[in-house]
Symmetry: C2
Subunit: 308 residues, 2 copies
Amino acid sequence: MGKVLVFGHKNPDTDSITSAIVYAYLKQQLGAEAEAVRLGEVNNETKYVLEKFGFEAPRLISDVSEEASEVILVDHNERQQSADGIENVKILEVIDHHRIANFETADPLYYRAEPVGCTATILNKIFKEKNVEIPSNIAGLMLSAIISDTLLFKSPTCTEEDVQAGKELAEIAGVNLEEYGLAMLKAGADLSDKSLEDLLTLDAKEFTFGTVKSIVAQVNAVDVNDVLNRKGELVSLLNKNVEEKGLNLFFFFVTDILNNDSVAIVAGNAAEDAAKAFGKELVDHQFDLPGVVSRKKQVVPVLTDALS
Amino acid sequence: MGKVLVFGHKNPDTDSITSAIVYAYLKQQLGAEAEAVRLGEVNNETKYVLEKFGFEAPRLISDVSEEASEVILVDHNERQQSADGIENVKILEVIDHHRIANFETADPLYYRAEPVGCTATILNKIFKEKNVEIPSNIAGLMLSAIISDTLLFKSPTCTEEDVQAGKELAEIAGVNLEEYGLAMLKAGADLSDKSLEDLLTLDAKEFTFGTVKSIVAQVNAVDVNDVLNRKGELVSLLNKNVEEKGLNLFFFFVTDILNNDSVAIVAGNAAEDAAKAFGKELVDHQFDLPGVVSRKKQVVPVLTDALS
């Protein structure tokens, strides 16, 4: 058996990068030859995390079938979110916390999904089940993934298990959870070096709601006005994307990580319907999303119901 | 939250029936309102097991959406093997040891699949993880599922974990593993009350290999001649099925549970190719499968490779 590659989804967030590193570490402790890799650029938040706990970013790969014959997926399962060439390798394991869709294997595998807020929360359990000790710096990565995915426990995706795991891991990592959490989120929400193009692609996922071809993209900000100040340009760019990609909807929303509210800026012929789905009127491509922080729990289900 | 129904696949085997009972028991111990149900008739082997350990067969259901809004699947995931109406209920959990295919959810769920020989082996782990004690009669059911799925540890699907779990469970159940295992398999291999129609449907699964529409059915026997003696009739019946169901292949094989060999009787326009796939010549619809006991590991992959 050759080396097994471990990776999260394309357009990786902190959970996808750190869970690959963490699970590769665990597999190594259990005797497997495993290497964490990544499918895209490391974002500012993740860079802050890796530096804080003394890790390098995993190696970037493109077509996975040119690199290995066996892989482990973390933090995703849907084929369109996974590596190019994924259909030509054997998926040995999946550790994930998303719905299952567009996923199929020829053989039995180890598949561990739980409806919790973060992959790292599941990994924390697996370390215990396997009786492997979690080193301080690995705990730091896991804690960071939980803070990132749950927006410091504020997201409706967050479960009691995530909170519990976060507390345990903060203790092992030796950091103050609240202080470190806020600093990390702020590092991720620092948009000063980002172009508007960057903002639209930083955390963008493709969806099809019925016949409505869509992109739903989210950015976190300490001050949403940093983004809203550039709204004219932003709307032009959204319209350009809609046209070039043949979209019916580009749903972009900026989340205020301090107040846990969001503002949506949308374009495409389904834009008004999208606003209505949230009981809002679309005014100049914009509407408020009070209390909304989670794409998975608070945006995608609403759009699915209204547009499908 | 109403009652959660727990069930295995259509055409249930011992693992599908007992794992539903066992996991419903575990969920009850953890405070959930769970009921085991079944999607088809209980076979002779399973009847022997239920009687031995003092259980009634679970309630038979047809359209699951008329019974509950939330379900847990054990020992399967593919939609065509699951309950009618499955697309209209929420799948909360899956505990399985098969490949994943034709399965999709709208929401995150608990999905636990491991590449072991039997669902009960995974359940044995979950009992430990949840710190729930396994009562003697529940251990008996779990042990029986492992014996059934691994053909008393002889199947190539059997892993070291299955053997270990089997030994632990035999001790808790207070039975002699070898003696009980053979008696149970013999009870299941008693074909004396079965019509030929019964034999073809007892453990039949549908597959499509490329464009080759197929049924692959298996029966266990203490003496394969019990079945081969009726070969003329059997072949007529296979041909009838091929015609009526528009099949390219009906692959029926009888497994000798004492010697761990099988004999295949096949019909359909892909019958010769099926024999060739095993390096055999088809003689009067028949060929030997020495050492073959597992549809999943030794038959389906060979047919997939050769016919797809």
